[in-house]
């Protein structure tokens, strides 16, 4: 039982990290569907640096930093296209996923099948993610920064009137969101499965995006959402091959469950919790 919970936490850690990043984005009014792509880039950047800085004892801190940087850089692209050029956020995120998966697969080809000997421990990531969730909850509800952030997501025109720089806040939120997605990717390639393979993110980024709706944009509830899906992944592994049910059923279970969970959120009217200005570019002088 305790073991199952521990495994669920380890499976859920990348989900939690990516989900927290997406919550931060969306609280500021920007949807970024590029999480999957940013995760892939983070995973590659982390692995490449860990591997490149010396086989056997690569520099893991540098690797994590590289993953954070890769995610941020990719997110800036989304920020520029959607905030400065006011393009459709949904399509931009989609394009970012294509670009991220594509370029990670392209540039990562030379690392395919290479082992990483020095594997960092899991717990700093897991504890860090939980700590971050708590911190983010505090920032949202107990600081002036959080208030600015939420007002930019709820009513950018009013925030603008109060002297808040809407673009700057949104750029910042998107950048940090990207960094967290990159970190989630690095967890996969450094800790969870210390290696690089094309497509190793396997839809986790999308599940993280769906999780945001499920947990109603709340960082604290994201912890439980991530553990729940982590448990599901754990069970998928445990039950595979031990039951007469074909493995493809287990493989598609997380995705089916996401649909179910979204339907349930819809049934409960959860979409009403979404930040008011979510998905809409802000133009000055227009309401």
């Amino acid at each position: 039982m305790l073991n199952a919970l521990a495994r669920a936490l380890s499976f859920g850690t990348p989900l939690l990290l990516a989900c927290l990043g997406a919550i931060l984005n969306e609280r500021a009014g920007v949807v970024n569907l590029g999480v999957e792509g940013m995760m892939a880039l983070g995973a590659l950047a982390g692995f490449a640096v860990a591997f490149g800085s010396g086989v056997g004892d690569g520099n893991l801190w540098l690797a994590v930093l590289a993953a954070l940087g890769a995610g941020t850089l990719a997110a800036f692209l989304h920020a520029f296209v959607t905030i400065t050029l006011q393009a459709n956020q949904f399509v931009s995120g989609l394009a970012l996923t294509m670009l991220g998966l594509g370029s990670a697969g392209l540039l990562g080809k030379r690392f395919e099948g290479q082992p990483l000997f020095n594997q960092p421990p899991e717990w700093p990531f897991t504890l860090g993610a939980i700590g971050l969730a708590v911190l983010l909850g505090l920032v949202f509800y107990a600081t002036k920064l959080g208030l600015s952030l939420r007002s930019v997501g709820e009513n950018p025109a009013a925030a603008d009137l109060l002297g808040i720089n809407v673009s700057a806040v949104r750029y910042g939120a998107v950048a940090v969101g990207g960094a967290l997605a990159g970190l989630a990717g690095a967890y996969l390639s450094l800790v969870y499965r210390p290696s690089w393979t094309d497509g190793m993110t396997a839809g986790l980024g999308w599940i993280a995006v769906a999780l945001v709706i499920f947990v109603g944009w709340s960082p604290l509830r994201a912890i439980f959402g991530a553990v729940f899906f982590g448990l599901l992944y754990y069970l998928q592994f445990r039950l595979q091959g031990q039951s007469p049910i074909p493995s493809e059923v287990f493989a598609s279970l997380p995705y089916l469950l996401v649909i179910l969970v979204l339907a349930l959120s819809g049934l409960r009217g959860q979409q009403g919790n979404a930040p008011e200005a979510l998905g809409r570019p802000y133009r000055r002088g227009e309401r």
């Binding site: 670009l99 594509g102 999308w206």
Partner: protein, 351 residues
């Protein structure tokens, strides 16, 4: 430097901005070629000379344009009505599954076999898409997430079938279904893989849906729902019904694309990765490039067909991963949507 709003962009402006965006995209992808360790000019030359300057290359472009045409035409309608169907990939697979089911297990008279497969395939794709449309209209569940999740489920379904109950008798270690009979295969242009009945159907559908969109009541409703949902409510247009129609059409066309691939080229149900080289995603660019006009897909589908065929060449001749196609798609899409601000505004220098 500042932006000045334009009421209605002229046609030449749309064309100019689109071409400029594509130009920027090709420069950016060139940068990635360089990062990979290839001379960008060299890579582009390999892509173009192996496709446009080669008879075999033309066939490849054409073959790949067929699914892009079918899916892309549907997606223009979907995007026009703000229904973001990202699940064409899965709908294509379901179309292939249903068609293969008919081919393998339904004893139809030979002359009815292909029509039966096409009908079943279209139905399979449409129903797969309707799940998401229904959830959107009933429970306002975001269709981007559901259609995408259904892609993964569709992949698992195909693998389950060809690895389990539908596994071919001659397949041994591999996973694919039995081969279709001669009369269950689509006609091709002699000596090529170009299944022309599907190509013809795609062309007719592009023109037909353009007519539907601009000349019929349903088309009018679609445009209003997409452009101004409030006006649609005021006019008493049921957004729910329009979304269901659009889902039915786009899903059905993606399903037909799947039928074309298995009945025209592979002649059996095969692994998802081989069945489609990301047609469902590439078709998003096809539709976006056409800017909501189904007829324009006749131009944009071959363009992306060229990129897919070129990606194949880079894979074979320069040993590059096929992922380069995703890079192209992502960069082109980003440049296209990023350039749209220059359609709605004029750039003025000075204050």
């Amino acid at each position: 430097m500042r932006l000045e709003p334009l009421a209605n962009p002229s046609r030449s402006r749309v064309l100019g901005v689109t071409l400029a965006a594509l130009g920027v995209a090709f420069v950016l992808v060139g940068g990635l070629f360089a990062a990979y360790g290839l001379n960008p000019l060299e890579a582009y030359r390999a892509m173009l000379s192996g496709t446009l300057l080669d008879a075999k290359g033309w066939q490849e472009i054409l073959r790949r344009s067929i699914p892009l045409l079918l899916i892309g035409v549907g997606l223009t309608l979907a995007f026009r009505t703000q229904y973001f169907n990202i699940g064409a990939e899965g709908q294509l697979l379901l179309g292939a599954v249903w068609a293969a089911g008919v081919a393998l297990f339904m004893p139809l008279p030979p002359w009815l076999s292909l029509p039966g497969m096409a009908l079943a395939g279209a139905l399979g794709g449409a129903l797969w898409c309707l799940v998401a449309a229904w959830l959107k209209s009933r429970l306002s569940v975001n269709e981007i997430l559901t259609t995408l999740m259904l892609n993964y489920v569709a992949q698992s379904l195909v693998i389950f079938l060809i690895n389990g109950p539908w596994k071919g008798r001659d397949a041994r270690g591999y996973i694919y279904s039995d081969r279709f009979a001669e009369y269950q295969q689509l006609a091709v242009l002699p000596g090529t893989n170009v299944h022309w009945p599907t190509l013809l159907l795609g062309v007719l559908l592009a023109l037909g849906l353009q007519w539907l969109l601009t000349r019929t009541t349903l088309g009018f409703r679609m445009r209003v729902v997409g452009e101004n949902p409030e006006a649609a409510r005021y006019l008493g247009i049921s957004g729910v019904r329009v979304v269901l129609w659009v889902a039915l059409i786009t899903g059905g066309l993606a399903g037909l694309a799947g039928v074309g691939e298995i009945a025209g080229i592979h002649h059996r149900l095969i692994e998802p990765g081989q069945l489609s080289s990301g047609y469902g995603f590439t078709a998003i660019i096809v539709a976006w490039l056409a800017r909501g006009n189904p007829a324009l897909v006749l131009l944009t589908a071959p363009l992306m067909g060229l990129i897919l065929a070129g990606g194949d060449l880079l894979k074979v001749s320069l040993n590059m991963p096929f992922r380069i196609v995703d890079v192209f798609s992502g960069v082109m899409l980003l440049c296209l949507i990023g350039s749209e601000i220059f359609l709605r505004n004029r750039l003025r220098w000075g204050r």
